[in-house]
């Protein structure tokens, strides 16, 4: 209960913060529209040349792009800002500001993960949702309640996997402060904008088993086009749970190495 109340406070602080910089809204809108527009056009250009690639059509690839945009939006909304402040450029672990997080009588991982929110990411969320709906309509098959449910479960496990990987990458900063692991993750995350099936075998293995960014978008997109085997869904859920546990252990182990900075 207390945690929910804190989340509400974090959000209202974020909204007040956002309202102070009104020009930022327009800039952010421009950025959202650019990433949405370039993403959609890129897919259109590709499928203007070919009918289907390894079973992926224009509609199903759009569904995947919608998932990618939605995941990216959720990340920008509430996981990304905190972890970037923690482990990004001039991050709190590097500058020693992390002390203030440790001193608070709340779970450290909770505070380090969801303290900062970016309400402007809701724009991305709307655009991503729009692509998802458009793709769903284009795919043309009527979605049953079970289909919608399995899509939502797949998406939720995608968010959990995303959070777990990002947390693990951020935690590595405890071992080598100053290295921008979150940027490394950003680079790899972009690969999730196309189905893993379109990459060559060795890369597909990396994106599935080593840094499973491919799973995050491919599985929900399969659910959207209605050809998701129940076993894959269960596997994705299990992966989410395992990765979450591993990342948490990694973060807490790293935490013990933290020896502040400056002062």
């Amino acid at each position: 209960m207390q945690y929910l109340r804190m989340v509400r406070l974090f959000i209202s602080t974020a909204i007040q913060n956002m309202l102070a910089y009104r020009l930022n809204f327009w800039i952010s809108l421009l950025h959202s529209l650019l990433s949405f527009g370039t993403g959609v056009i890129a897919v259109e250009v590709l499928f203007g040349q070919v009918e289907a690639i390894r079973g992926w059509t224009l509609s199903s690839t759009l569904g995947l792009l919608g998932t990618y945009l939605t995941l990216g939006a959720l990340r920008r909304l509430f996981i990304g800002p905190s972890l970037e402040a923690l482990a990004g450029m001039d991050g709190e672990i590097w500058t020693g500001k992390f002390d203030y997080t440790l001193l608070r009588p709340v779970d450290v991982q909770f505070l380090a993960s969801v303290r900062l929110w970016q309400p402007l990411a809701l724009l991305d969320l709307v655009l991503g949702g729009g692509v998802l709906i458009a793709a769903g309509v284009r795919l043309g098959h009527t979605m049953t309640f079970a289909d919608v449910l399995s899509f939502l479960v797949a998406l939720a496990s995608g968010v959990a996997i995303l959070y777990a990987i990002l947390l693990a990458f951020s935690a590595l900063v405890f071992w080598s402060p100053g290295f921008l692991y979150t940027w490394l993750f950003n680079a790899l995350f972009q690969m999730a904008r196309y189905p893993v099936g379109l990459y060559p075998g060795w890369l597909r293995l990396v994106l599935t088993w080593v840094v499973p960014v491919g799973i995050m978008t491919t599985v929900p997109a399969q659910a959207l086009s209605g050809d998701l085997p129940a076993a894959t869904l269960a596997g994705s859920l299990a992966l989410a749970v395992v990765l979450f546990a591993v990342a948490t252990v990694l973060f807490r182990t790293g935490l013990r190495r933290y020896a502040s900075a400056s002062s």
């Binding site: 650019l34 370039t38 590709l46 290295f179 680079a187 379109l198 060559p200």
Partner: protein, 263 residues
């Protein structure tokens, strides 16, 4: 002599940049990913046949060259010009007995060397793995050198002029993001120009963006006949002239308007 001062500055900046290699390698890695994604997607689409007359090996060659050219012509320094103006860093640059554009140029040269020490070996390894096919002719190789040089000059001056708009507007950086998006779509990154659908292809041929990245790549990978080459160079020189005039006009008007903040 102004030139000697400029050269000394270039050397100093280059040496200091080499000190923090890992950071720049990470940036270069991030910039490599988008073209790399399209390399994989298009070569999978081509499979063992052709798409738009290009084979899998052709796509690999095209995109590997594009990765290097994109890095050669990308003017990362343009992003910092706005901050230099806003935070008053321009004060000390204006006091130097040489034009502040030398400061940007010195970061350019330093950056190029650092980034290329990462990008070239990685591209070479990728070439060994992915087996590109490049039909190199002497004419294309000879035309490639001036094409890259002009592309760099065009991209640099164009971006620098946009960044100088920070003299008037605090958020001129948004225009750089817009430029990056247009380069992504129209400069041969999302697809080689020949594969773009009607309207986009016309826009790509007329607007300056293709001449910042895509054109030199097409030259080297032998996609252009004699006429295509001549027309391309004409456009490149034409747009470069426009960019040069724009730079001079904006610079003169901007400096007169500049009222040092901080410093």
């Amino acid at each position: 002599m102004k030139l000697r001062g400029g050269l000394a500055l270039i050397k100093a900046t280059w040496l200091s940049w080499m000190q923090v290699r890992s950071f720049f390698f990470l940036l270069a890695f991030g910039w490599m990913i988008p073209p790399l994604i399209y390399l994989f997607v298009w070569s999978t689409a081509a499979g063992s046949g052709t798409v738009g007359g290009m084979t899998r090996e052709g796509f690999v060659a095209y995109y590997l060259v594009l990765i290097v050219v994109n890095q050669l012509t990308y003017s990362q320094t343009n992003w910092t010009v706005g901050d230099v103006i806003r935070y008053g860093g321009m004060n000390s640059l204006l006091l130097r007995p040489l034009s502040p554009v030398f400061d940007a140029l010195s970061s350019e040269v330093a950056g190029k060397v650092v980034y290329l020490t990462f990008v070239v070996p990685v591209t070479a390894v990728l070439a060994v793995i992915l087996r590109p096919e490049l039909h190199l002719t002497l004419r294309n190789a000879l035309a490639f050198v001036p094409a890259v040089a002009l592309a760099w000059a065009l991209r640099f001056l164009w971006g620098y002029s946009l960044a100088l708009l920070a003299f008037w507007a605090t958020q001129a950086d948004a225009l750089l993001a817009l430029q990056d998006a247009l380069i992504f779509l129209l400069a041969g990154q999302v697809a080689p120009t020949v594969l773009l659908p009607g309207v986009l292809r016309t826009a790509a041929l007329v607007l300056p963006f293709r001449y910042m990245v895509g054109f030199p790549v097409e030259v080297l990978s032998g996609q252009l006949d004699r006429v295509g080459l001549a027309v391309g160079f004409a456009y490149q020189v034409g747009w470069l002239t426009v960019a040069l005039v724009a730079f001079l006009v904006i610079w003169r008007a901007g400096v007169r308007r500049y009222s040092a903040v901080g410093g």
